[in-house]
Structures are given as structure tokens and as C-alpha cells.
């Protein structure tokens, strides 16, 4: 069962209180972005290192999603670089998921729904890439 909707804010103290209630969502979204960047940057560093060590050229085009996994299995540096770029590109999506979950936890259905709508629009864009 969701929490009751917060009361109407009227003064500065109410807004400070409202921001305080969102504190866990801020913290979670910030952590998600920070860790997602670390993972993406780590993958990119690994891919670039493999590229330099093995002398494999980078591709001139990011591989379609379906070809990246086989490329990783084959141990190609380009596969690791492609995965790193895609991971970095998707990082804000993880943060929006965290924000949507935060609004749901607060019982703020309006903004949870809006966050899900944003995710749906991003899914449409990612869907175009999957159809490639």
C-alpha cells in the first residue's frame, strides 16, 4: 500500500521538508550515476588497453546489439569498447528508474507515472536501435 500524499506546501520550511523527504531518492540516483560511470569508464579503459596491446583497430561503426555479445565471446577489443559506449549511453536510464522507484516509494503517483512515461520514450529510442 502506498504512503499518503504529502500535504500542500505553503512556506519555505515546507519546501525544505519536501526536499528532505526526497533525500533517499537523490542519494540513490546519485549513487546509480556514479557507479554506472565507474563501470562504463572501466570498460572503456579495458577496451582501449586491449586495443593498444593487441594492435586491433577500432571499428568505424558501433556494432549492432546482436553482434556485440559474440564479439565479446571472441575476446575482441572492439566488442569491449562498443559495450562501454553503450553502457555509458544507457546510464541516465538507470537513474530515471531510480527516480521512478523513489517517487513510487513516496506515494507520489503523478511523478512516478511521469518518470515511467520518460522511460517509455527512451525505450522507443532504444527500440529503434534494437530493430537495426
Amino acid at each position: 500500500m502506498s504512503a499518503p500524499a504529502p500535504p500542500e506546501a505553503t512556506g519555505a520550511a515546507d519546501f525544505v521538508d519536501r526536499a528532505e523527504r526526497l533525500a533517499p531518492t537523490y542519494a540513490t540516483a546519485g549513487r546509480v550515476l556514479a557507479w554506472s560511470f565507474r563501470v562504463g569508464a572501466g570498460l572503456l579503459a579495458l577496451g582501449v588497453l586491449l586495443t593498444l596491446v593487441r594492435g586491433e583497430p577500432l571499428g568505424r561503426e558501433l556494432d549492432p546489439l546482436g553482434e556485440i555479445l559474440p564479439s565479446l565471446r571472441a575476446g575482441h577489443a572492439a566488442g569491449v569498447v562498443d559495450l562501454a559506449i553503450l553502457w555509458l549511453m544507457a546510464s541516465p536510464v538507470f537513474a530515471v528508474v531510480a527516480v521512478a522507484a523513489g517517487f513510487l516509494r513516496l506515494g507520489d503517483r503523478r511523478y512516478a507515472l511521469l518518470s515511467l512515461l520518460v522511460l517509455a520514450v527512451l525505450a522507443a529510442s532504444i527500440g529503434l536501435a534494437l530493430l537495426r
Binding site: 533525500a23 550515476l33 558501433l62 562498443d82 537513474a95
Partner: protein, 320 residues
Amino acid sequence: MRPNRVRYAGEITLEVLPRRPRLAVRAIRPQRVRCAAWGRALDIIQTVEIGAVAAVAAILGSMLGLGGGVFLVPIITLFFGIDPRIAVGASAVVVVTNSVVGSAGHLRSRFTNLRLAMILQVTTAVGAIVGALVGVNADPRVVYLVFGLVLLYAAASMALPRSDRAPALGADPLRLGAAFRDPATATDVAYVPKRIGLGLGISSGAGVLSGMLGVGGGVVMVPAMNLLMNVPVKAAVGTSTFMVGITSVATAFVFYANGLLDPTVVVPAVVGVFLGGQIGPRLTRRLRAQRLSLLFALILLYLGTSLVLRAFGVTLPGQQ
């Protein structure tokens, strides 16, 4: 079954398949024809150059709060002769990365208004997909012209005042009001965003520009939020930084779907912009803001004029 493959001087490829003989003639990319070591040396030089240019673009962008894309795309298209669509795709990935790094800090400081970001983001993301679909199919001259005009607007916007007055409170039917602790004054700043309808219209336009040009849209959204929507500068920057990352996800995946993300451009651009983004804020603290604004306005004016002229087939000396 793997064919026996014979490669003749980079001109044709002869494939002889057991049982089912067939002759295939394929065009081979020029860089494959060159001596491998020479080809790799060229790639490395260009990679380092793009990385260095991206770092400079990020230093300039972070000093102005515009992000790296505003400088990156014109510089690598005008001086490296890279296809503007490849440059825009790379810039979109760069903007996402910059936003991820920047937003983590803004979220910790609670400058980001998450409710305002989500309400504006719906139209911005839709606008970005539309803009990106236009961008990938547009004649490069159209991209040059629109980008040039945006840069000229950005140069003019350097003269726009920033509103530092205490934001007004009042009716808040959409519960968008928020507060953050300003470390400069050690006080809590509370505000209620106004004119949401206008903000939705502007953000959808910013999304279209962002999708078409690979810039984050902060160049439009920060002044709009601050001057028109009653959002304090720090909250406008924090909210915009979070939003531009989400907007650029929509853009980047459309460019990816169309095969316009080139890792040989994206990787050095991401690394360069990340490094430059660390240096820019430190330099800003040491330099005088007024002189910086004038210098950057002149750079934007030069790049904007160059792109508009390029749209009409005129290439200035020193450009490709």
C-alpha cells in the same frame, strides 16, 4: 564452410567456396590498402588530435556552462572534415557522459529539481527523437545552418543577465516547489517554478535542437528556467545537467540505430571531454569572468559564422 580467400592488391577479393565456386568482387576501404603500420600511425595521430580538441572544447564548454558539444561539433567538422552527422552522434555520447558525471554531484547537493526535470523531460525526449530523426536524414548544409544559428544565439546569450534575485513562492498546484542549501550563502533557497506551459514548449524545442545537433540543450534550458520560470541559477543548472543526459540518450540511440556512431571519434571525444571537464572549472576560478565572456562570445561568433557560411558552400581559410 570457410572460403579460401585471396586478396589482390586491395582491389578485389576472390572467394573460392568448395563445391559452389563463386567470384565476389568487393571494394576495400583505402586504409586497409595502406601499409598496416602507416595506417595505424595515422589513426593514432588523428585519435590524439580529436582527443585534444575535445579536451579544449570541454574546457571552453565547462567554463561557460554549455557542455562540450557546442564547441566539439563545429571544431571537428570545420577543421577535421568529419561528416557532421558522425560529429553530432559522437557529441550526443559525450553529452551523456558529461551529464552522468555532473549530475551525480548536483544530485548530492540537491540542486536538481527532480519533479521539474521529469515533467519537462517528457516533451524534451520526444523532441530529441524527432530532432535526431531529422538530423540523420538532413542535408549536412541544413545541419551547418541550424548549428551556426544556434552558436550565434549562444554568443548573443552571453550578454543575457542571470537572475540572482530571491525567487518568489506562491501557489504550487503541481507540487514542483523545492528547496536546496546554497553553500555560498549557507542558507536554504526555496522556490516554486512558474509558467510550466511555456517551459514545456521551450523544452520540446530544446529537445529538437538537441536531437538534431547533439548539443545538450542546456544553452536554451538554463536561461529559460532561470529567466522565465523563476528557478534559481544553481537549481536551473542542476536540473538542466540531469535533463540533458536523458535527452541525449534519446538522441544517441537514434544515431546508433542509423550506424552513425564511429568509435574512432566517440572514444577520443569522450576521454578528451572528460579530462577537459576536470580542468575547466579550475581555470574558471583563476580567470576574470568578464574577459572570459567576451573571449568566448568571439569564439562562438567565429564558429557560428563559419558554419553558416559553410551551409552556403563557403569555406574559410584553414578549414577543411
